[in-house]
């Protein structure tokens, strides 16, 4: 485990003044420690019942009654949620020790895990349905370069990452290198994760370590040459990979910078929504402008603020709502990968993080790029 002080300064740099508590839990910290974390982790309706919050009233009125206390139990109850038991743990901790205004690494880790989209590529939902063993890998990820199988990232010591040190984990996330020094194929979005702060990487590991270990051997990839040849990845990396943290954008306010950090480093929106070059790197001149050949062959829409071909007509509340519910402004739902990363990830973020991501999305340059008919 890292020394707390180092992680916290590191985090302070990472997300700037957007994390006023200094513990990386923002609003949650202000509401009050573990209790606040539970509140913030719930859908935003709960946060809004906080008495001090001026926007609480309309929602409460909607429910046609006074604000109710937050439920203590794990709130999801929806389809397969590996975090459920941790939520319950946190809820129990809340009843034991209300008033401690400091989030544990586990709680912070759960938040960053949510920001990654819940690492759903490591759960084989398409092959095994909603009961697929969480994070045990084996999911076929179809790319134009072949089929890759995601790996077991549960704490199982034999088949998972249970033996990894924090250094191993950090090197994988930040440099795309396995503990044995091999290059990872960029289906693992380390070009995004490299931007994570040391503190967030450590917290994420603490969270993953807390999940149930599942024994399941990894499957070899099924990629065609030259994309199956690991040593060539050194060349790929030289072309397409810039390791290291993402400096704040001085043109943006702190909330948008927090959103930018989350979107770029954790949520890896660009890995799906940005088209790729012939060598499989992201075409940064079309940042977030949509990709017909997203992961698993899915069409990922243009999410720049372009009026004609992007989502220029979506308001901030539209975006915040979408990242929580997967419901578009016209009421239609979301399918495929985006539905997964919302359900198992972004929906579990504290609302302020979704707002920050929305603010960042509004700040990116509008790019005209039509990827679909309507």
């Amino acid at each position: 485990m890292r020394p707390a002080a180092r992680g916290d300064t590191d985090r302070g740099r990472a997300i700037g003044s957007a994390a006023p508590s200094g513990h990386g839990i923002g609003l949650a910290g202000r509401i009050g420690g573990v209790f606040g974390f539970v509140l913030a982790a719930l859908p935003f309706f709960v946060v809004e019942t906080s008495a001090a919050d001026p926007v609480a009233a309309p929602i409460a009125a909607q429910a046609e009654a006074a604000a109710a206390p937050a439920p203590v139990a794990a709130p999801r109850g929806l389809r397969g949620d590996p975090q459920a038991h941790v939520l319950e743990e946190i809820a129990r901790a809340r009843t034991r020790s209300s008033g401690i205004d400091r989030a544990t690494p586990l709680e912070r880790g759960r938040r960053i895990f949510a920001a990654t989209g819940g690492c759903t590529c490591h759960t084989d939902f398409p092959g095994e349905g909603s009961e697929a063993p969480a994070l045990a890998g084996g999911r076929a990820l179809e790319t134009p370069f072949g089929i890759y199988y995601s790996t077991n990232i549960t704490p199982d010591r034999e088949t998972g990452i249970g033996r990894w040190s924090l250094e191993d984990f950090t090197r994988a996330m930040r440099e795309g290198l396995s503990p044995g020094g091999e290059h990872y194929f960029p289906v693992f979005p380390y070009p995004a994760f490299t931007g994570l702060s040391d503190g967030d990487v450590a917290d994420l590991k603490a969270y993953l370590d807390s999940l149930p270990a599942i024994r399941r051997e990894n499957r070899p990839h099924d990629a065609h040459l030259p994309y199956s040849f690991r040593p060539l990845l050194a060349g790929w990396k030289w072309l397409n990979f810039t390791p290291g943290r993402i400096p704040d954008d001085p043109a943006l306010d702190p909330a948008s910078n927090r959103g930018r950090y989350l979107a770029l480093a954790a949520a890896h929106c660009g890995e799906c929504h940005t088209p790729r070059t012939a060598t499989g790197g992201l075409d940064r001149s079309k940042w977030l402008a949509g990709s017909r050949e997203g992961p698993e062959g899915e069409l990922a829409p243009n999410i720049t603020p372009d009026e004609k071909t992007g989502i220029g007509d979506w308001s901030i509340p539209d975006l915040v709502w979408y990242l929580e519910t997967g419901l578009k402004p016209d009421g239609d739902d979301t399918q495929g990968l985006m539905a997964e990363v919302i359900r198992h990830g972004y929906a579990n973020l504290p609302r302020e993080d979704r707002e920050a991501i929305a603010a960042y999305l509004k700040s990116v340059p509008a790019i005209e790029n039509r990827v679909r008919g309507d």
Binding site: F45, V46, A65, L299, D332, D333, Q335
Partner: protein, 175 residues
């Protein structure tokens, strides 16, 4: 009888003209009937698709309206429950709307609807239950319950779309 009719017509028109008319109308009937029937069937298939898509759009519009109220924090007492109830009521319309198998044309309905009708009906039932739950939650006093019920209702769309509606890559809207 026949004779009588002929007799009457014979009195109005010369025989060759009458014969020609009978022949023409017989040929016309024989030649046109199947085409007309085909056209009618095509129109009704298109109509079936159009109607079921409009029904889905109505479901989507109610969902959108619920989102519109909650995400923009509008004060519309009773409105969320009302929209949710409309969605629950619409569940009764989904089965009949999809009863006739139409997979051709501008539609995103998958053939699995008709090969696994029981599962399709289960998806309708799950959706109806989720809509009823939201209607109930919205009349209650717990905003968190409303939030969870909205999400569950949203997921119930996916519970059907994942199996029975073509993904957006294959949607008629993107062709």
């Amino acid at each position: 009888m026949t004779r009588f009719v002929f007799a009457r017509f014979e009195s109005l028109a010369p025989a060759p003209v009458f014969a020609a008319a009978v022949f023409a109308s017989a040929v016309g009937t024989l030649w046109l009937a199947p085409r007309e029937a085909a056209a009618q069937a095509a129109a009704s298939e298109q109509g079936v698709v159009e109607y079921r898509q409009l029904l889905m759009s109505a479901v989507g519009s109610n969902m959108g309206a619920i989102g519109g109220i909650l995400k923009n924090q509008l004060v519309r007492p009773g409105a969320v429950a009302n929209h949710a109830q409309q969605m629950a009521d619409a569940a009764k319309l989904i089965g009949p709307a999809f009863e006739q198998k139409v997979t051709a044309g501008k539609t995103d309905a998958k053939a699995e609807i008709w090969s696994d009708w029981a599962k399709f009906e289960q998806a309708i039932a799950d959706y109806e239950k989720a809509a009823t739950n939201l209607a109930t939650a919205a009349k209650g006093s717990d905003p968190a319950a409303v939030g969870l019920a909205v999400r569950a209702l949203g997921e119930s769309c996916g519970g059907c779309h994942d199996s029975f509606r073509k993904p957006k890559e294959e949607s008629y809207k993107n062709r």
